[in-house]
Subunit: 342 residues, 2 copies
């Protein structure tokens, strides 16, 4: 109930892929943020109809994702993969709903803003019905690097990732848990989602390797970071690796800046930066960890050190919740900006 | 039985820390290599006496590690930590036994060769009774980088590691397994060896952080690589991270070379290099993984690509068995060189 007597504006929200790993987090995030939802329409493929999702303490029936489903919707948050996004973008925007898309379908299109609100919220002004949420690894890297870029101009980024199972969806998380239980029981470990065993192993990201030798994930990190930063030539090298972690990504980052940046200055800048929490306790050996980043909106950053191999180099280690800042929370932040709640 | 009628030379070997994770692998490696052992003396702390270790199918009683134990020993392979190595180095060398030391105790001493046989076997000629085995992460990085350094002169190394539990010993491996079983059983996860939960987590290496912001492991990788390569000024930046893997380390490496090195040329060089196996199948998305490196003597290397961020940059991803090439196998290789078996 609004306290000031005025009727508070509220919105008709559709969540496409509402039963998936990110979709579920979108519902939780809307609740955590007390976002003013007039009506919620959870959409999913036909095999999920009949199910319900819980929202604000009540079960809400899942509806089938069809073109007609977008009638009367103000904002549609998509997390059902690039194919579904391409298939239903037209129906969504023609129905007058703004599409906030977690997939890679439209990210690199010049007429689609690719937005991390802490960095380039202004890009949303020019949207044409679709706003893309960047790749999770790109977001988690960009949030702490942006304030350093503003302060000292980053000239090169070298990043190696430690990516969780959640980036491959709820079934991939379940596979890691199932392999863990099988190992504990002395049974054979089954693979269905990932091409390689994920429990007790690490492997190069399970996306196709392009002509340039980089896999899709790495090329996304490189190209999307450039677009978000408005730095189309920024030199970036990325190596994306899966690790047996459930839901938060970590990244080992080395940057070279135009102006030398001391660790002390970098720490001060990051301590004030939005969306970032400095975790850099050398005495207690306490630095960002995916286990602690899980469930948090902020990206944790630490291991802030001089790069001993370069006169203008600086190193960082970051952990961020892949399902939250890497997807659901960034999408809801975009939604909050669009409705002027920020 | 020697076939040529001559009596084959064989050696009296002591293994210090014979019941530990590395000590056990030394015994297995001596067997795998058919190393000519005249007598085996497994040494360990008093609490292990009464136990036996198996060698060549027979149980051998563990003896207490005391100064007198080195009488009549030709070669002593130490894997019982830096404190024990410092404590017994004098007794060992005074008894005339050559010490091959897996600990960090003497690695940076100018009169102690620090040897990776594929790289600097010649350094052994000047030993004064002690030869050190380098840090495991340094070895696993140095083996594939050395032939590239010879071909094109490496001017900078940027490395991020994915280190297994085995580097912290048998108890750490057991802790990862115990946490895994507890998770599967829905029980609380206990920590004893590692400062942070290792199952489903990654964390900055659990060694003290020095004044320069680098932890001990990182400083070892940097300083030891320089010593092994005879390049005291080589610029290196290392970030050492633990991952929930049992016994093989992986590393994401970017190098800058004086002469530009194409991925094709690097692949050719590595295909011929000793101690290295190229695993670089882009179509099958099959690259080095700790699970496949486990149990192998060779370091697996792949993801051989141009570094898109630097005109003379090249990237690699490597996995090597921490207990074998990172410790036991490198020690036995040194032993083989010393007795002229190579």
């Amino acid at each position: 109930m609004p306290h000031n007597g005025q009727r508070m504006t509220s919105y008709r929200i559709a969540v496409v892929g509402a039963t998936g790993a990110v979709g579920r987090e979108i519902l939780r995030t809307l609740e955590r943020r007390n976002f003013p939802v007039k009506s919620l329409k959870p959409l999913a493929s036909a095999r999920s109809t009949g199910k319900t999702v819980e929202f604000q303490g009540k079960p809400v029936p899942v509806e089938e994702l069809r073109a007609e489903a977008f009638e009367g919707v103000d904002y549609a948050l998509f997390s059902a993969g690039a194919t579904r996004s391409r298939q239903f973008a037209g129906a969504c925007t023609e129905a007058g709903a703004v599409m906030i898309d977690n997939s890679s379908a439209f990210r690199m299109r010049s007429d689609v803003p690719l937005v991390v609100p802490e960095i380039n919220a202004g890009d949303m002004k020019q949207h044409h019905g679709i706003i893309s949420v960047p790749n999770c690894s790109a977001i988690i890297m960009a949030v702490p690097l942006w304030p350093l870029h503003q302060a000292a101009q980053i000239e090169r980024i070298i990043v190696s990732t430690y990516q969780s199972a959640s980036g491959a969806g709820a079934q991939a998380m379940a596979e890691l848990e199932a392999q863990t239980r099988a190992y504990a029981a002395g049974q054979p470990l089954k693979r269905e989602i990932f091409p390689h065993q994920i429990a007790f192993n690490v492997f190069s990201h399970n996306t196709a390797v392009a002509e340039n030798g980089y896999n899709e994930e790495e090329n996304k990190v490189i190209e999307e970071t450039r677009k978000i930063f408005h730095e189309p030539q920024l030199p970036i090298v990325a190596t994306c690796i899966r690790v047996p972690v459930l839901r938060a990504h970590s990244e080992s980052i080395v940057i070279e800046t135009k102006r030398p940046l001391s660790p002390e200055e970098a720490r001060e800048i990051l301590a004030k930066a939005p969306g970032v929490k400095v975790v850099d306790d050398r005495e207690k050996n306490h630095f960002p960890m995916p286990l602690e980043a899980s469930g948090q909106f902020d990206v944790l950053v630490g291991r802030i050190r001089r790069d001993l191999s370069h006169p203008r180099g600086l190193t960082l280690f970051v952990s961020g919740d892949q399902l939250l800042k890497g997807a659901a929370w960034n999408a809801v932040q975009i939604l909050e900006h669009l409705v002027g709640k920020v």
